[in-house]
Structure formats: C-alpha cells, structure tokens
Amino acid sequence: MKEEEILKSVQEIFRKTFDKPDLIITYSMSPRDLKKWDSLNHVILISEIEKVFGVRFELQDMLESRSVGDICKTVLRLKNSA
C-alpha cells in the first residue's frame, strides 16, 4: 500500500470523525490545526483507522501519533509488518 493511498483513506476517516465533509488534510496537520482534535477524539480517530486498515495501534503508537504524517507512517509500518 502506498503512502498516498493511506493519506486518501485517512482523510475520509478524518472527515467522518470530525464531521467535516470538505476537510483537506496534510501530513503536517496536528491537533493544533483542528479544534475538535482533542485527546478523546484522537482515540476515536485511531479506533476508526484500526478498523478501516485492519491494524492494531499499540498504546505507544497511539500516543506518539500526533500528526497526520505520524498516523500515516504508523499505518504503513503496521501494514508492512502484518
């Protein structure tokens, strides 16, 4: 799976989770850029990503994934190691 494909799917998950159908995400986007991206919505977001990609974030992965780029890299690593 390529990084661009992951970004596209992650964008759909962001749109659904934060109820923003037109949201465009970038690799550098972090909770600072999205008001609703708090610690609990972060968990909801990761849970959705786990379901869609069929991967499991360890606690450390979840806590360290603090930007869209971090999330995509973790998904890529988990997919490649599956």
């Binding site: 600072r32 008001k35 708090d38 610690s39 968990v43 909801i44 849970s47 979840m62 806590l63």
Partner: protein
C-alpha cells in the same frame, strides 16, 4: 503502608474528596467504586477495582455491560494486574481500550535532598482568588484536556479551605504552568501538573513540581506520590521520584460521561 498502596490510596482519596466536596455521585460497590460528574469530563472514573478480578472475563464483561447501560462512567483507572496482557486483551474484547498508562512514582522527605525550604519564586503563586483560579483552569484545560472540560465551579468548591492547594506559574505575566497538591495525613499527591504547549521545555514544569514538593514537605507530609504520564516521567525522575507501579487508563471508545 507500602509505596504502591500509598500511590493507589491517595488517588482514591482524591476522587472521593472531589466527589464529596463537589456534590457528585460517588458509589462504593463491593469490587470497585465510581464517581460521576455529568456536567463535565472530570471526574468520571471507575476506580478502586479489585485487581484479582481484572483478568476474569465475567467481571470485565459485566463492567462493559454496565457502561453500555450508562449505570457507570465509561472511564476506568486501575493499578495493573500481574497479567497485564490478559487484562488489556479482555478489556479490548469488550470495547474498553487502553488510552493511557501512568507510572506510579514516589519521593520521601529523606530522598528529597535538594528541596529548598525558603526558595522564593516570584513567578509562582498559590491560587487564592477567582482571577488566579480562572487562569489556573485555562492552563489545565489547554494543556491537559485540549478543550474546556474542567469546569470552574467544581474546582472552586474543591480548593477553598481544603487539603488541595493549587499553584500557578507565570512567564511574562502570562499563566503558563500549573500544579496541585492533595495532602491527606502524612501523604501528599501531586496532580494536574501541566504546561502550555508553547512554553514546554523551559523548566516551568520542574519549577511548579518542585514548588509543590517544597510546600508539602514544609507541612507534615512525609511522602509525596504522583501518577506520571509518559511525557512527564523523565522530569520526575530527574527531580528524584522513583517508579513503583503502573496504572492503566481505559475508555469505552466513543461513550460519553453524560
């Protein structure tokens, strides 16, 4: 009392105090207790769980069922059982996801060699009025909760004249860092140690922690405990805190405290 019991009991007493003083729901059941605040995200915890039951599927399932039925809050904090793997995998099976892990740490009066009783920090104050309190809440909400989830009303009820002391650090007149101590007998717990993201890495967290430690040891406190996030753990070790145990924080994902 051993250190692990001290680290655990202060947390439980803190939640009980918050519930009692804050007029919140507090229920002590046989195998756990819970506190609920329907107006705000804090405190809403299932706590004081019987650790022997944490690896029993029937118990975890019954907890999850009750959360789904909204009988009890969706957040759980517990000292980890010996078989952590089984606990977390059982919890996940029933929808309870581990969202954080705290390290239980402690420092005794004898170990705290560098505490300086009379050190003066012009940039740190003890919260004593509503303006200070609002600044304190603003910092905690922005840096720990990411949104406005700690309500002023409950904090105001808790800190006035009680065993809680709130400390606030300023930089260039802006409130940037907080700490809180909860003293119970000769044991004190430190909570809500937070620094605004824009001001991290400048030693403010260390200063606020040391300030609270100094104030506690000036009183009758003999042992200070805290529950460190991964981000703060290194700083507490540098101050002299030692690790004694781990706590798991779980949430039934998506379930509201309301």
């Amino acid at each position: 009392m051993d250190f692990i019991s001290a680290i655990e009991s202060n947390l439980h007493q803190f939640y009980e105090y918050a519930a009692t003083r804050g007029d919140l729901e507090l229920v002590n059941e046989r195998d756990f207790s819970w506190v609920r605040n329907r107006r705000s995200a804090w405190p809403n915890w299932i706590f004081r769980l019987n650790r022997d039951l944490l690896t029993q599927e029937e118990f975890i399932k019954s907890l999850a069922d009750r959360i789904i039925n909204k009988d009890i809050p969706p957040f759980l904090v517990t000292l980890e059982p010996d078989n952590t793997e089984r606990f977390y995998s059982l919890a996940l099976k029933y929808g309870l996801k581990q969202i954080n892990r705290w390290t239980g740490m402690a420092i005794s009066r004898d170990e705290c060699f560098q505490a300086s009783d009379n050190q003066f920090h012009p940039e740190i104050i003890e919260v004593r009025n509503t303006d200070n309190l609002n600044d304190w809440i603003k910092v905690v909400n922005a840096s720990l909760f990411n949104s406005t989830t700690l309500e002023a009303e409950i904090v105001e009820k808790l800190y006035r004249g009680g065993p809680l002391k709130l400390y606030l650090g300023y930089e260039n007149k802006y409130p940037v860092s907080t700490s809180m101590s909860f003293e119970f007998d000769s044991l004190a717990g430190l909570y809500m140690i937070a620094t605004m993201e824009s001001h991290r890495g400048k030693g403010m967290g260390t200063l606020l922690t040391r300030y609270a430690i100094d104030r506690c040891f000036q009183n009758k406190t003999e042992l200070i405990i805290l529950h460190a996030s991964a981000m703060g753990e290194g700083m507490y070790r540098k101050i002299g805190f030692k690790e004694y145990c781990k706590f798991g924080i779980l949430w039934m994902v998506g379930r509201s405290y309301r």
